[in-house]
């Protein structure tokens, strides 16, 4: 039996060398890699040097997410408890392709309409959408009026049939922004909910943004100001990761509150044992 065991070991190590990296044996059976922290951790356990190559993110998007991180967590990475919302995951996607549909109109400040394709592969089935936002950032050099009113016309299309003329859903949003924020956020939750819920792997949308100045500025030429300096928008998804490895704030706050309300509540003890333990604690109290 010793010989057969050695033989089994040799065959199994041969299988490993055949190409399946050892950590891949730890991947879930359905083959789809679970996004998140765990797979890279397994790679480190098997001392994978350098890990998979990564595309570098857009620098403005990275700056926005670092700002969000500072708002949500301490320097040591502890989630701040002063937050009431339920999302424990925020994903930012930059469009992986854009096709110009129609030139912009400098006079009315209409941004040229472009088709934006967002690849949502990283959103896993356990992540439920709570809110989604289109995020416009500005070039620093942009000579933009301090306040402006913008109207966005957004059309969702079928990625498989980008030239399909009939728009799936159009969406008008009236929004106002001040230049000092440097970001322009447009809530598109109601529009994207059905797509993310049906686990769509990519979303194609045509965006047409028109901004009107609030008050005319003598300095700028009448009506003409350059909108094309608006950087193409990113897509922000606020999600609730329902997996066990994610932090569920509402659950932990709730269980702490329950524990505070009845400290003597012994988990899992039958009623008579609780009565006994109460009796014990009473007898150990100093007699009056």
């Amino acid at each position: 039996s010793q010989a057969s065991r050695v033989e089994a070991q040799i065959t199994s190590s041969a299988e490993l060398e055949s190409g399946a990296a050892p950590w891949s044996l730890l991947q879930p059976l359905d083959g789809r890699e679970r996004p998140g922290l765990l797979p890279p951790l397994f790679k480190v356990l098997y001392d994978e040097q350098g890990g998979t190559p990564r595309l570098q993110p857009d620098s403005r998007a990275l700056r926005y997410m670092k700002r969000l991180y500072k708002a949500y967590a301490t320097k040591e990475g502890i989630p701040k408890s002063n937050r009431s919302h339920l999302y424990n995951t925020v994903r930012l996607f930059t469009p992986c392709a854009q096709h110009k549909q129609s030139p912009g109109d400098q006079v009315t400040g209409t941004l040229s309409s472009v088709d934006l394709l967002f690849n949502l592969d990283r959103v896993s089935a356990v992540e439920h959408l709570l809110k989604s936002v289109l995020l416009y950032t500005f070039n620093n050099s942009l000579s933009f009026p301090s306040t402006a009113k913008c109207v966005c016309n957004l059309v969702i299309k079928e990625p498989e049939f980008p030239l399909k003329s009939l728009p799936r859903v159009t969406f008008n949003s009236q929004l106002e922004f001040q230049k000092k924020h440097k970001w322009l956020e447009m809530d598109v939750t109601s529009l994207l909910q059905p797509f993310v819920a049906s686990n769509k792997r990519s979303i194609l949308m045509a965006v047409n943004l028109t901004c009107m100045k609030e008050q005319p500025q003598p300095s700028a030429q009448d009506g003409t100001w350059n909108l094309t300096l608006l950087v193409r928008p990113s897509l922000l998804l606020y999600l609730n990761d329902t997996s066990t490895q994610a932090y569920h704030r509402w659950y932990s706050v709730h269980s702490q509150r329950r524990r505070a309300q009845c400290p003597h509540h012994k988990k899992g003890l039958p009623a008579y044992a609780r009565v006994e333990s109460a009796a014990v604690s009473r007898s150990s109290r100093p007699r009056r």
């Binding site: 990564r54 570098q56 997410m65 040591e76 990475g77 989630p79 995951t89 930012l92 066990t244 932090y247």
Partner: protein, 135 residues
């Protein structure tokens, strides 16, 4: 059995070979008692800083030390822990002594760059040990 009881009374309470201080030593808490220790690391040490943007420093902490024989409520240990200790001491030393392990954790927020270039902010449960116990 009058004779036996009187002879019993003459016996010393504590075996003469073992003096009192030695006898009570076995009930003292060990010097390197089971407790929480810090371990501050930066993700660049693990060469993870190409995909973990924040936090820069991470202290997962860990539990280390000997478990005292009378663990009781001090570590929130169940009675089973003392039973296991008695088995180890009196019946079969191949049964392991109770171990010093984490009992509670706190979450960690992580900002990562995904392979497709998207950016993710995620909050993970059970990433920092906050309390130790003997089990």
């Amino acid at each position: 059995d009058q004779k036996t009881s009187s002879s019993e009374l003459k016996k010393p309470l504590v075996p003469t070979s073992l003096n009192l201080s030695e006898y009570f030593k076995q009930f003292l808490f060990p010097q390197n008692e089971c407790e929480l220790h810090d371990f501050r690391l930066s993700f660049s040490q693990l060469k993870w800083d190409n995909w973990i943007v924040a936090p820069h420093r991470y202290n997962p902490r860990y539990c280390k030390g000997d478990c005292p024989r009378a663990v009781g409520h001090r570590y929130g240990s169940p009675v089973h822990t003392m039973v296991q200790n008695i088995i180890y001491e009196k019946l079969d030393s191949s049964v392991p002594k109770p171990s010093c392990v984490p009992a509670k954790y706190s979450p960690l927020s992580v900002l990562t760059i995904e392979p497709d270039g998207s950016i993710a902010y995620k909050e993970y449960e059970d990433m920092i040990a906050t309390k130790c116990t003997c089990r």
